[in-house]
Amino acid sequence: MEKRASLSSVVLPLIAVVLGLVLGALLILISGDNPITAYRGLLSGSLGGSDAIGRTLEKATPLVMGGLAVAFAFKAGLFNIGGQGQLLLGAAFAGWAGYALDLPAIIHIPFAMLLGGLAASVLGAVAGLLKATRGTHEVISTIMLNFVAANFTEWLVSRDGPWKDPEGGSLARTPEILSSAELPRWGPLPTGFLVAVAAAVFIWWLVKKSTLGFEIRTVGANPNAATYAGISVTRITVIAMGLSAMLAGIGGAIQTQGVNGRFEPGFNTGLGFDGITIALLARTNPIAVIPSAMLIGALDAGSTQMQSLTDVEPEIISVIQAMILFFVAAPSAVRWLLRQRDLGDEPEMQLATGWGG
């Protein structure tokens, strides 16, 4: 029984990915391109050579953080789809700390990263507080906060914004960050990716081994029982959303410090949604988030190469992702498609408990 359950937690996501790719190939075929050439481009653009692998890891880094953000909030029974806004806020604040402060690298790098994370955590904590005290469903509030954060960060670097690059002309961006805030790179391996892996291990420890993690899991499993056991659901909800948002924010900070070198608004749109796919692909296991994010990161990284080979628009990736998410969230659909009944009985995720609860 044990063994079968663990098997299905690997087999099912794999089947979901394969089915997603097969349906994606069908769409490519319909739009008049050769799916085999397209997927060959996808593969060589993501795994062919150290440059490509570096690009995949680079793309995977914010995805690990975004996936962790969603997976962690899931543990408390919360659905954080505000990853996009939280990431933008984290990226913007890390950008400011990166160019405005002059510190030694050993302090500068972690400080900028933490500042980005903290800024984002405020956004998450607000959603958590509203959920706990006013019953505002976090799905709506985090999405609305995405738009607020997008507007806010856009203003920060706009014509009249306080953080606008004075040498940037009409470009909306911050000045370049100082080299002391830059995350170094070791060959194809971006340091940011190591930070993300460390974050995944930390979250695994936090959820599985710490008292806070126990409280979070209890609230997620049954808020009434948690209250009865003397756990403050309000406190846990705020902390869980705040930490979840912080993870996404650090993801944004890494993007600024390790990839872009400054903050520019409007990059990496759709990350919040990617995070959902990744978290579910990992069955909300923090460690499994890493390979899941690498997979989605590889799809992203390879899509440019695919487009140059076949004219297939990179947007096909989000269609494939939607399919993967569907299959991974509905094991019964996979069973039904494959006429397979012995994939093990996965407990299906249940979030939809109505509004204002």
Partner: protein, 358 residues
Amino acid sequence: MGRLVATATPDTDIGTTRRAEPSAMVRWATRNWLTILAIVAVIIGTYFAYQWDSRQTTAVAAGTIRQATPLILAGMCGLVGERSGIINIGIEGQMLLAAFCGFMVTSYSVDALTSGPALAAGIIAAMAVAAVAGLFLAWTAIRLKMDQIIAGTVINIFAIGATSFFFVQGRTMPKVPNWTVSSLEEIPLIGRLFFDHGPLTYAAFAVVALFHVTMFHTRWGLRTRAIGEHPGAADTVGVKVLRLRYVNLAIGGALAGLAGFSLLQSAGVFNRGMTNGKGFIALAVMIFGRWRPMGVLAAALIFGFFNAMQSQLQFKQAFDIPPQFFGMIPFVLTIAVLAIAGVRARPPAAVGQPFESE
């Protein structure tokens, strides 16, 4: 409060046989005193605003109706779904798919047909694709017992990807004409307000009236409310719970399709991600409107009003506020409204839970 007013009607009859029942109209008025008060306040407010600045008042008033249109239709989509017990977080995606298909069908068929039939074909396509998405949501919730929020998210992600993937730059479609009522549209303010809109705006108001009546006065409405509150009980008395959920999600989808096409009505062209959060705002509208058609209408008009004010102020550059802060208003407003209204909100009891007949 209501009761106080009721007892204030003629006391003189007491002592004869029994107190006279207040007439139906009085009873309606005492139950809806707040609504009446609000309507009167809005009319008086508009009157004075019009005296003060007729051009801007007309612009804001007409803008309110225009901005409210997609929210009314999308809010009604959410309402029909939740009243039947299914949370629809995928309205955003349904609208986007509908706007896309509506645009494409209109754009490609306008050469073969004239612009009128092409637009009609576009509207039908928009309704059809969103209805299919609604059926998909129902299928995942009923057959697969998938989490409804995740299922809705699947629709949203798919819609963003698919509409961008198949989008062809540079196509155009004929403008959706305004339906004006000749001579009536000449009336100051009222003409622009009520008799000079695109067909989908009239449709939105008709939909509210239709569902107000059917939801509370027909067998379909009673059954729909029953399967959303207590599907087990409905099943016991012979209501086909699952079939009705499929039907209602398809109806809701068609409404989301109209909402999506109404975006084309005001924008005139399809843009990537043109829903811009309206599908989610519509859910807030539904909650604020307490899962009632008239409530959805009122809530959507309030949102529409703030949006219209925002664009008018921004256009006039009345204040020295960066445009990004104006852009935040609808989203901050949505959160504020939910925070204020959410506590007292009571959704249909069985919403979000899978149901299995015994």
